[in-house]
């Protein structure tokens, strides 16, 4: 049960007139149309209604429900949970709403949130309901339905894109392995035929083997082109946020890089002891950080690679640092502000890292000089308190 604020003393919805309703609907449209993917639509809706329009609001849709209300002390409270989950707040919300219904002169209005994500929007207002109130609540319910549907479609598109990329990678690999084996056998056969190891084989048969070999090369070339396409299009990165501990991500990346670091003669230093929690796309942040580590492991001379996670003003920072290696200034600009450069895996990796961070509303900073070394800092806004 969260505390949102306090209703203005003496504030009463009895004076909620036509101009107020128009302003309310305009704001509702803006908020719901521009809701960022990580924000809960049902929560935003409950916050919209209370305390300006209503003294209580309950929104139940898409497997989530949010209740906002003004308690008897004038505090605005909010409870959000998955539909069907009971917690201590359940009793509290019900009690308070019942208390409001019996204690005050109030009206209750319920409007359906339309399919395909059906639900219910219920508000309690501290006045006699007017026709415009009914229209306003129904209008917001429709907008909630549309916002939920947009979100569902975006999620479906994201999932479809991931499946598509995975399918291409998997299919390419599955095709290439047997074809590579076939190619070796065919080349061996052709070579044996040409050198007379297979006995007296006529030129037409050898010609057929040559053509078969060429066709196989062609197929393998097409498959190689498929694989060269980056599995994630760096120009269209979509993020899916969830509770993420950046320190845990850093430790995972360090573990994954350990083998490569050892092979390249690096020692690893990890500074990620304290949880740094926030709502980020764990998988993508891990990928961004891995790309930065890979870049330094490939570019810098052997030494110590430091990787860490820390809280920062307004967000969190993950950093990767090496000593005694400087990226030339011209390259810094190209690496972190340029377009996608797929000429090398590392260049593409840096670009993808940058786009992942930018998709989170963050940025990558480079500090680099030949004398002191290179530090790549990935800043992600927003942490859990």
């Amino acid at each position: 049960m969260g505390l949102l604020g306090r209703a203005e003393p003496g504030a009463s919805q009895e004076r909620f007139g036509t101009a107020d309703r128009v302003r309310f609907l305009a704001r509702a449209g803006r908020v719901l149309d521009a809701a960022r993917p990580e924000r809960s639509i049902v929560r935003l809706t409950a916050e919209l209604f209370v305390p300006k329009f209503a003294i209580a609001c309950r929104v139940d849709a898409s497997g989530e429900e949010a209740s906002a209300f003004v308690d008897p002390q004038g505090e605005v409270r909010l409870c959000v949970r998955r539909t069907g989950e009971l917690d201590e707040g359940e009793l509290e919300v019900t009690d308070v709403v019942e208390d409001l219904q019996t204690r005050l002169t109030s009206s209750l209005l319920s409007a359906p949130i339309p399919a395909p994500t059906p639900g219910t929007l219920t508000v309690i207002v501290q006045r006699a309901l007017e026709r415009e109130d009914v229209i306003a609540v129904r209008d917001v319910a429709r907008r909630v339905g549309a916002a939920l549907e947009r979100r569902r479609l975006a999620e479906e598109a994201r999932t479809a894109r991931r499946h598509h990329d995975e399918l291409i990678l998997r299919t390419s690999h599955e095709l290439r392995t047997p074809l590579a084996s076939l190619s070796l056998h065919l080349s061996g056969l052709l070579r044996a035929a040409r050198t007379g190891k297979l006995g007296n084989i006529g030129e037409p048969t050898i010609e057929k083997l040559v053509r078969a070999d060429a066709q196989l090369e062609r197929v393998l070339g097409h498959i190689a082109q498929l694989v060269r396409k980056p599995p994630i299009d760096p120009r269209a990165i979509e993020i899916s946020r969830s509770e993420t501990d950046l320190s845990l991500v850093v430790r995972d990346v360090a573990e994954r890089c350990a083998g490569k670091a050892a092979a390249r003669g690096f020692s690893l230093r990890v500074s990620a002891d304290r949880p740094v929690a926030g709502r980020w796309d764990r998988e993508l942040v891990q990928r961004a950080l891995s790309n930065l580590c890979t870049y330094l492991l490939d570019s810098a001379p052997a030494g110590e690679l430091e990787i860490g996670a820390h809280r920062s003003r307004g967000g969190a920072r993950a950093l990767v640092r090496v000593q005694g290696f400087g990226i030339p200034a011209a390259d810094q600009a190209e690496l972190l502000r340029g377009g996608p450069d797929v000429s090398t895996p590392d260049r593409l990796g840096l670009f993808i890292a940058r786009r992942i961070v930018e998709a989170h509303g963050g940025r990558i900073r480079v500090r680099s000089s030949r004398g002191t070394g290179t530090e790549l800092v990935l800043f992600l806004p927003g942490t859990d308190a």
Partner: protein
Amino acid sequence: MNSAAGPYVMVVDDDDEIREALADVLTDEGYEVIGARDGMQALQFLREGRRPHTILLDLWMPVMDGWQLRHELLSDSKLSDIPVIVLTAVRDQRAQGLMVAEILTKPVQLERLLGALAATTRGS
């Protein structure tokens, strides 16, 4: 694997088909071939058995990958000078740092592979 009297080559690849195809064509060319399914098995063969003239090494394998095996080889004075030819499915510039005789991309062209092998086993 077939045995012949030619140069001795170890093929390290987790894919049975690729390993056997390489063994077939190399045996036909007069090489003696032994296969290992991952870096760990290769290391075991190398420490317990005959020393090959050349190792053909895949990079991406389970248990112990090619990067780790190369690190182990370079750390062992008895094995560090065995020539290695990398066969990799993904063109990866990081492989340049492995200090190997040749890096070939799969699907490998037989003529190029035989040329690289001839260069590393010359005189054996």
